[in-house]
Symmetry: C2
Subunit: 254 residues, 2 copies
C-alpha cells in the first residue's frame, strides 16, 4: 500500500530534511501496513538525493513473508524528482531464547550534571532535540586544528518535546550524532549521510516498558578517506540496556 | 540488465549456500553493468529465504545516478521459489580528501605462528578458506558451558586457493566469521544471517596495491536476545589498513 507524507521545516538540515525523521517516516510506512507481522529488526536507508520542501510518496512493497520474518522494500520519491530514498525493512516475531548482552554499558553521568548543547540557529532539526554531551561535543568554528581529535562522542539525547522511545525515535536518533568529521576536525564542512542501517535489539513491548524519554548514545568512526567516512553508534537505555546499534557511511568534502 | 548464476556445492553451508559468496555474486552483478560508475562503497544484503541448489536470476535495477554516487537494487530469485535475496549497492567515485584512520589497528600475530583451523567436513564452505585464529576460535562440541564467553574473534582469513583481495572477496569474507552464538556458548545451533551490510574504505585501485592474499578479521557482538544477535566485523590488511567494516543481524535458535 502506498503512503504519502510531507517534509516538516522544523526538521530541516543543510540541503534537505534531517535523515533521521525521513528514516522514521519510512519505517512508519511499513508499520502501518495491515499485513505486517512482528517488530522492527533491521532497517537500511540509502539516501539517493536530497528531498525538496513539500509532499512525497512512499512506495511500500512486501518482498517476502516467512513464518517469523518479513522483508519490505520502500522507495520514497517526489513528483518529477525521482527516487530520494531507497530502503529495506526487516520485521521479526521475536521468540524467547537465551539472552546475553556481551557489550559492556558505558559509564553514564547524570544528565543533570551536563550542560545542554546550545543550538546553532541555522540548522533547525538540531533544535528538536536536547543534547547533553559527556564527551565529544562538536567544536565551535574557532577551534580548527588540522590534527585529528577523537571521533568518539557520548551524549544524552531526548526529544525537545518529550516523547516515549519507540522504534521510530530510535531510527531518528540513530542519525542525530552529528557528522564525525565535524568532531575530529573541529569544523563544519559539506556532509551528507549516504547509507544508514539500524538494528533493533528489543521488541516493541520491551521498549514500551523502558523508563524515561532519553537515550545515552555512543558514536565513533573507523576511517575518513577519499571523501567518505563511516560512523558507528550505540543507543543505550538509562538503565544500561542496549536498545539499538547503527552504522552509516557519509560523504564529506574537505 | 538481468544476470544469471548458479549455486556451487563447494560453498554450501547449513541449509543453503554460504551467504558470503551469494553477496559477492550480487555485487558482481552490479559491477558487470555497462553504465556503472565508481567503486563499491556500501552493500546491504537481506537474506529472505534459503537458496536451493541450482540456477538463479538476478534482477539488477539502477535506482539513481548522481555525479559521484550510484544506487542499485538487486533481487536474487529462483524459478517458482520467489525472492531469496533483496539487496542494495552503492557505488562511488572517490575523490581525494583529508584522510585519517581513527580506529587503531589490532595486534596481528604472524599467521605462521598460529594453527590452521581443522575444518568440520559437514560444512563445505568452511573448507574454501584458511582460518588461523589469534583468539576466539569456535569451540568444539565437547565444550558446552552455559556461561557466556567472549564474543570477540581475531583471525587471519585467506582463500584456500590464493586469490587477490578485491571487493568481491571482502563481501564474502565479511560473512566468514562464524556465528557469534557458536563462540559465546561453545555449541552449534540453528543459525542464519538475516541482514548484512559491508562498507568499503578503499577504492578498487588502492585495493589492488595491497600486498598478500589474507585479511586479519576482528569480529564481535553486542547482544543476543529473543532469537537474534548482531555481529560487527573489521577487515584489516596485513599492513594495518582498514579495508572494510561490516555488521550483520542473525537468527539463532537456542
Amino acid at each position: 500500500m502506498a503512503c504519502q507524507g510531507q517534509t516538516d521545516d522544523r526538521y530541516w538540515a543543510f540541503v534537505g530534511p534531517f535523515g533521521g525523521t525521513t528514516g522514521a517516516t519510512v519505517l512508519r510506512s511499513v508499520l502501518e501496513q495491515a499485513n505486517k507481522i512482528g517488530d522492527p529488526l533491521a532497517i537500511t536507508l540509502n539516501f539517493c538525493a536530497p528531498l525538496q520542501h513539500g509532499a512525497f510518496d512512499l512506495d511500500v512493497r512486501e518482498v517476502r513473508t516467512n513464518r517469523s520474518t518479513q522483508h519490505w522494500a520502500v522507495e520514497l520519491s517526489q513528483k518529477g524528482a525521482g527516487i530520494a530514498v531507497s530502503a529495506s525493512v526487516v520485521l521479526a516475531v521475536r521468540r524467547e531464547s537465551w539472552s546475553h548482552q556481551s557489550a559492556a554499558a558505558p559509564d553514564m553521568p547524570s544528565p543533570e550534571d551536563l550542560l545542554q548543547l546550545v543550538q546553532p540557529r541555522s540548522v533547525p532539526w538540531v533544535d528538536r532535540y536536547s543534547f547533553r554531551f559527556a564527551c565529544g561535543q562538536p567544536a565551535g568554528p574557532n577551534d580548527q586544528s588540522k590534527s585529528a581529535r577523537s571521533a568518539r562522542s557520548e551524549v544524552w539525547i531526548s526529544d525537545r518535546e518529550p516523547r516515549p522511545i519507540d522504534a521510530l525515535s530510535l531510527v531518528s536518533m540513530s542519525d542525530a550524532f552529528f557528522g564525525r568529521i565535524f568532531l575530529v576536525r573541529g569544523l563544519i564542512c559539506p556532509f551528507g549521510t549516504v547509507s544508514m542501517t539500524v538494528y533493533f535489539h528489543v521488541s516493541a513491548n520491551e521498549l514500551l516498558q523502558e523508563e524515561g524519554h532519553a537515550i545515552f548514545g555512543v558514536a565513533d568512526a573507523h576511517v575518513f578517506h577519499r571523501s567518505y567516512a563511516d560512523q558507528t553508534g550505540e543507543l543505550w537505555s538509562p538503565n544500561g540496556r542496549l536498545l539499538a546499534t547503527t552504522q552509516q557511511i557519509a560523504y564529506f568534502k574537505l
